[in-house]
Symmetry: C2
Subunit: 216 residues, 2 copies
């Protein structure tokens, strides 16, 4: 990609015009924020730097996001959409055994987190959730991602992959907790690094899944 000019994406109105009005500031801010997020992390992401990078005054973003928090929520939102798309790809595969799907899901989750550490931190970190500052639109995108976990757990139980005698909700809390925890240990650089991913996933899947007569 040949170095997008963030100052002017300008798709909706006149295609180009060094104007007082930017034209498409909201989405421009979002893409620039994603870049800044990757470069400097959550701590380094400031509205002022962002505005500066986009070539607009400090307070311009406030006409598109009520808050810094709203900006963060919007970014997280995109993260959930992308992850949900990834997850659906895994689930909608045909001719793949339940266990392999489980394996792929587990592995995919960890890799998504490891590939987008700062984004993951925004999606599932305290910044947004701890102080109940999630936007209603973010909640609407995020909650399905939560309940998907429960649905899949129930299905895996029915397929005999996961133990049937455990409460579905508890079981999905524990399995998700495991993925979340491993992801966090990786991201925060505690006690685990990327080179362990494959083996850790394999180990976890072995622990959780029962032996099935069909497939691996």
């Amino acid at each position: 990609m040949p170095e997008k000019d963030l100052t002017h994406t300008a798709k909706k109105p006149k295609p180009n015009k060094a104007a007082y009005h930017h034209g498409d500031l909201r989405s421009t801010l979002l893409t620039a924020a994603n870049v800044l997020l990757k470069e400097t992390g959550i701590e380094g992401l400031s509205l002022r730097k962002l505005a500066d990078k986009v070539g607009v005054s400090r307070t311009a973003p406030y006409h598109h996001f009520k808050d810094k928090n709203q900006l963060l929520c919007a970014i997280a939102e995109q993260g959930f959409v992308r992850w949900q798309s990834d997850a659906n790809h895994i689930f909608n595969q045909t001719h793949v055994s339940p266990k392999d799907k489980y394996r792929q899901f587990f592995h995919g989750y960890i890799c998504y987190a490891a590939d987008n550490p700062e984004l993951y931190d925004l999606m599932f970190g305290r910044t947004i959730w701890k102080q109940n500052s999630a936007t209603s639109t973010l909640r609407e995108v995020a909650y399905p991602s939560f309940s998907l976990q429960v649905d899949m757990t129930k299905q895996w139980q029915q397929q005999g992959l996961l133990p049937n005698n455990e409460h579905t909700l508890r079981l999905s809390q524990v399995t998700w907790g495991t993925m979340h925890g491993i992801a966090r240990l990786l991201i925060d650089g505690i006690y685990a690094d990327r080179s362990h991913i494959d083996e850790m996933c394999e180990c976890a899947v072995n622990l959780f899944t029962l032996n099935m007569n069909s497939s691996t």
Copy 2:
């Protein structure tokens, strides 16, 4: 406790003296910081507020902590010491089956996190570890806490409680990951709350531990 006067703990020098020199600022700052941490969370903990609370000028703390980071590391340090003491109590019990010890350890870990959410966040959160800003003294206190996890895992494997065919390090990464993940989900208020603790722990322990002929 009758409302400790943080302005003057003054243990080492003259017991009381409204003096220019505080006498025991470092430890006073630490205890006040712990209070402030609980009240306002990590985000709300500022050096200026802390100094103000203790009744000292903004920059006085800098004579006892090079950095805000050093202050945070010192707090985390205390957290590790306390947790390690808790953990040792569990391990050093006699007449308790391995499985019950495992159960207690798991449950104790989650409860410690749930009871001290902000402290836990400091101990295992990105604030300190992500940008490699941990003090050397913090590392010295924290690492044993990490390796304890591995040692215990190995022991549990030998006792037949955890599967023997898994790599000890991977297994302890996964089990610790699970505890860490559940703790985080609880702390950040995502998808789980305190009322689920007992059941989640029970579920996790059931999943991980093998059936033993002795004990429950």
